[in-house]
Amino acid sequence: MIRVGTGQGTQRLSTSLSLSEVLFRLLALALVDAVAIWLVIRMVADGVWLLVTLVTVITLGLNVIFLREEFYPLRWMSPGLALMILMVVYPLVFTVYTAFTNYSDGHLLTKPQAIKRITTGLQNMYVPEGGITYRWVAFQAEDGTLALWLTDPEGNHYFARPGEPLQPARAGEGIFGPPDEAGVPTAIEGYTRLNRIQAAANRELPSIQFGLPPNAVQVRTPTEAAVLRPRFVYDPERDAIVDQKEGKLYVADDSTGFFVSAEGETLTPGYIVTVGWRNFDRLLNSPAIRGPVIRVFVWTVVFAAASVVTTFALGLFIALLYNDPTVRGRKLIRSLLIVPYAIPAFISILVWRGMMNPQFGVLNRALDTWLGFSPPWFSDPMWARLGVILVNLWLGFPYMMLVCSGALQAIPDDIYEAAEIDGAGAWKKFRLITLPLLLVSVGPLLISSFAFNFNNFNVIYLFNQGNPPMRGTPTPVGHTDILVTYVYRLAFASGGGKDYGYAAAITIIIFLIVAAITLFNFRYTRMWEEVSEHV
């Protein structure tokens, strides 16, 4: 046995390790490093720099932690920390970065990617003025290489192969078989003639250059081939894209992420640039955006607060109802009443959606029979808001019931007895003793519940997708949308209008609010002190 580390007093970082354990640790680390290096080499080749950075940081971190004795405790946390950095911290950092960019539909690529997209590909090719167009027939050699039989408008024929100059040819001579009615050889020695369908099915064909560049011929349409020139060419010196056909210059504008001509025309796609505080500025100062955002924000707070208050009120009421230990069947009643909490929320929300269907839902049919009124839960803004709060009440009251009945039992009986001697009635006892004491002990849980409902995506999205929609907003937004579902809409809106930069800006605001609530809660519960004081 060898002893690694030191045992100084209560500082117990000492570990006794056998040689084989040390060897095992080193071997495992070497294996991790080998895999990481293999990944990084491949990633560097592909230029996936973000991932390269992440893998490198995590691997280096693991090496430091497992080789330096002073980081011994971190070894135990390394799997969790690595996963947290990969799937939470990095996404968080990326979100902060995105909030300061114009990342959105039309700006989804980096500048080099956008240049590549604009300046390559067949859609970028054009037939220059005075260029010749040919009719073509494709032939395929046994090894798979392709060749074209070309016919120009004057009726001259050429045989074209990649990397060789066009060769004037005539059917029926040499390797060329006898001509068909268009003058195309029915067969060529060593080649098979492809019919139109076979040629159209060949994916490679349009990208092959037949003949010698720069006069190589490319297939342009199912019938036409021509000497093509790239229309847009990037000029790194001027940082601009030149339109060869029209002779226009599109200069990169790194403040908007577009290549722009003198007349203000832009090329698509644009690219991602950092835009400073513009997303936040828009959020706070653009009237078209600010209006809906403020309404969403206010509703988010109202929804979260109303959810906490209603579930707490009902939960407390039930807890008080069965607080008396003489009540028979308490255990059974509790089991029955926690069923709403036990059913996975996504299922019960959908069930409620069915039950609240305005035409056929059982709730609405019942209300219609008794009150002669069927609430439009999904089409009217106020009813929709009431609807989600009611559904959330059903989902959440059992939790509050459990929390409150635990807290009620912790209130000592002698306080009540003293109050009774002073002549306090039931209401007074509740208001002056039960409620204040209860709020002290369940307060932190109410705050967490507020934070949870602040981001309660499921109940809003699965019930009604945040609908009914508001009218006249620049991007779709609904009357029951809370901030998180609004962000989801912005990031995944169907039919265009995705704006990741703007969504990220709101995400940061959500995070700041929830983090503030949580910090406050830590203070409140003295979790801070607890962490430092406890064993």
Partner: protein
């Protein structure tokens, strides 16, 4: 105690009145809590498969909806269920392991920055990582280029995304429990030559099984109930989890598919409800200390 007389009612009469009112309220509350479950169960047995005609006690009750649920390859319900169970089981097992290792270190070692590290972890995990879905999406896409089984559209990728949150409030819960295990036990084992790994595996682990079970079950239920991450990462019908699949099954078609949906909802909910009811005392302790169901 005082003999309080209220109006003309004697104390005994008042008690009886309260008891009566309590029973009446109990009936109302139980009805409120259970009606949706009863209603959806009844719908699942109603072969007319229609939202509009359903009655609480369906005439001609049959298992037709259940048969249809499993028979139709357009909605591979059995597959969804298995996917959900697979993803949730692996996630919760790994999350418990990862979290327990970290909790052990936080509970047993003293090191610089211990307190701030724990608080940092707690605070970072407040960030709902589905909000960074664009980053996660791109990340999984790129990871998938090198390790296909962890890429976009795979269960591996989804589990990876869930495990990002393995450390967090659960570690805090576990640490509290670990702290309650007397350190004398470690000390005496150490004197007998045990190292930290042996102490963790043979001494601490068996003693903290209850909290591991609670965290495991809560993680399982949370993962099982997740809709957002799963809906974005899994697009293929055969890889979907139950939450995504059921939502797709019913969305926009409440009136035509109500019965089949109800059968799916019943099967999907029963295992979780049973776990809750059987282990309620166990779970409630964990819940009321701050873990929130997803």
């Amino acid at each position: 105690m005082f003999e309080q007389v209220n109006g003309t009612l004697s104390r005994r009469q008042r008690r009886q009145l309260i008891r009566l009112a309590r029973w009446a309220l109990t009936l109302v509350l139980v009805f409120y809590a259970l009606f949706p479950a009863a209603w959806v169960f009844s719908a699942s047995l109603d072969p007319r498969n229609s939202l509009a005609q359903q009655a609480l006690i369906p005439p001609n009750a049959s298992l037709e909806n259940y048969r249809q649920l499993f028979a139709n390859p357009v909605q591979p319900f059995g597959r969804w269920m298995l996917n959900s169970i697979k993803v949730s089981t692996i996630t919760s097992a790994l999350a418990v392991l990862i979290s327990a290792l970290a909790a052990y270190a936080f509970s047993r070692f003293r090191f610089a920055g211990r307190r701030s590290l724990l608080l940092t972890i707690l605070l970072i995990q407040v960030f709902p990582n589905f909000l960074a879905i664009v980053a996660i999406f791109l990340l999984l896409q790129q990871i998938g280029m090198y390790i296909p089984s962890l890429g976009l559209g795979t269960h591996g990728g989804l589990i990876l995304a869930y495990l990002g949150g393995a450390l967090g409030i659960n570690t805090w819960l576990m640490k509290g429990f670990f702290d309650a295990v007397p350190r004398d036990l470690d000390e005496s084992a150490r004197i007998d030559g045990a190292n930290d790994r042996q102490i963790f595996v043979h001494i601490i682990f068996p003693l903290v099984r209850p909290i591991l079970a609670v965290v495991g079950i809560l993680t399982f239920i949370g993962t099982y109930s997740d809709y957002v991450l799963a809906s974005i990462i899994l697009k293929d019908r055969d890889t979907m989890t139950l939450a995504v699949g059921l939502y797709q099954l019913i969305s926009g078609q409440f009136t035509q598919k109500w019965g089949v949906f109800a059968a799916g909802a019943t099967i999907g909910a029963i295992p979780i409800v049973l776990v809750y009811l059987v282990l309620q005392d166990y779970i409630i302790g964990g819940l009321t200390r701050g873990a929130v169901k997803g």
